[in-house]
């Protein structure tokens, strides 16, 4: 019967064999964490959250929302390969949970999510009160008249920016 030490040693030898079979070459920013990286952006009506969840299936992911937060929970289960002689694992498995606090009220019932190619995309509608609104600038009004949008010249500040920044307009 093998002692624990000799079992460890033999496993260690197998790992070294894998190291010899696959020697890493080159550099880069290592990406092995389980807790997903997030990209979050917004427009006037919607917040969008993207999470990197490679190897997750829909049923592995749970999304919870309150009036201004979103929580993503998940679990990635490692299925140990049948008949493996040696393994060297860098990928992370297990449970994670991340909560995002938006700081603006959201509509939890309007949230939708899709999972594609290992990227989860969640669309979160803002409540009507939280939506950005464009406020028209009005001219000076004579007393008693209804407010009307002021007649602004065609050139907006953005267009002025374009003219003064030829590099950006080339794109």
């Amino acid at each position: 019967m093998l002692s624990t030490m000799s079992m460890l040693r033999s496993f260690d030898e197998l790992s070294r064999r894998l190291d010899r079979a696959f020697e890493s070459v080159g550099q880069g920013v290592a990406r092995t964490q389980l807790t997903p990286a997030l990209n979050i952006w917004q427009d006037a009506e919607t917040l969008t959250v993207e999470a990197e969840l490679p190897g997750f299936r829909r049923e592995d992911i749970e999304i919870l929302a309150t009036h201004d937060t979103l929580t993503i929970r998940g679990e990635r289960v490692r299925h140990d390969p049948q008949g493996a002689e040696a393994v060297r694992y860098e990928r992370s498995f297990g449970r994670f949970e991340r909560t995002v606090s938006f700081g603006v009220p959201i509509d939890p019932d309007g949230i939708s999510a899709s999972l594609r190619d290992g990227v989860l995309r969640i669309t979160v509608p803002k409540t009507p009160e939280a939506r950005a609104r464009r406020i028209e600038v009005t001219g000076e009004l004579p007393a008693g008249t209804n407010p009307r949008p002021a007649e602004l010249p065609e050139t907006s500040p953005e267009r002025a920016g374009e003219a003064s920044n030829p590099e950006s307009s080339r794109a």
Binding site: A30, N39, G118
Partner: protein
């Protein structure tokens, strides 16, 4: 479309494009083959390339998140930006017992599995004894 914002996004793009991500990789040895498993979130089959040159396997995946199409287009649109438009790249020198001509790969849910058969000479074989 706000032109000034476009300029900012292009700078962001350039900044992130300098980053090359080294994907987490599992290495598994079986009696007849090796398997390598890479996490490549966002990658599609046509964005992944696998090449072998002088015993070095190079995996490259270009995950372009087009900012105008998929991402924000207005002022202050980004709230958090934890992953960018960087490419995935990993180079591994592979052992001589690998038959790289029979290498296969499949991509599912952002996970790439590469199967590298060992050369036939290295496999234990059962030899049938025929009755005379």
């Amino acid at each position: 479309m706000n032109t000034n914002t476009t300029a900012i996004q292009q700078r962001e793009h350039a900044k992130h494009a300098e980053v090359t991500y080294r994907p987490g990789t599992d290495f598994i040895e079986f009696s007849d083959r090796y398997e390598m498993v890479f996490d490549l979130p966002g990658a599609t089959a046509d964005s992944v390339s696998l090449t072998i040159d002088e015993g070095v396997l190079t995996l490259e995946a270009s995950v372009r998140r087009d900012l105008n199409e998929r991402g924000p287009s207005g002022d202050n649109a980004w709230i958090a930006r934890e992953f960018g438009v960087g490419d995935f790249r990993r180079r591994v020198r592979i052992g001589e017992d690998i038959d790289d001509e029979r290498m296969t790969a499949s991509l599912t849910d952002g996970v790439l599995t590469v199967t590298l058969p060992k050369r036939a000479a290295r496999q234990a074989r059962r030899i049938e004894i025929n009755p005379s």
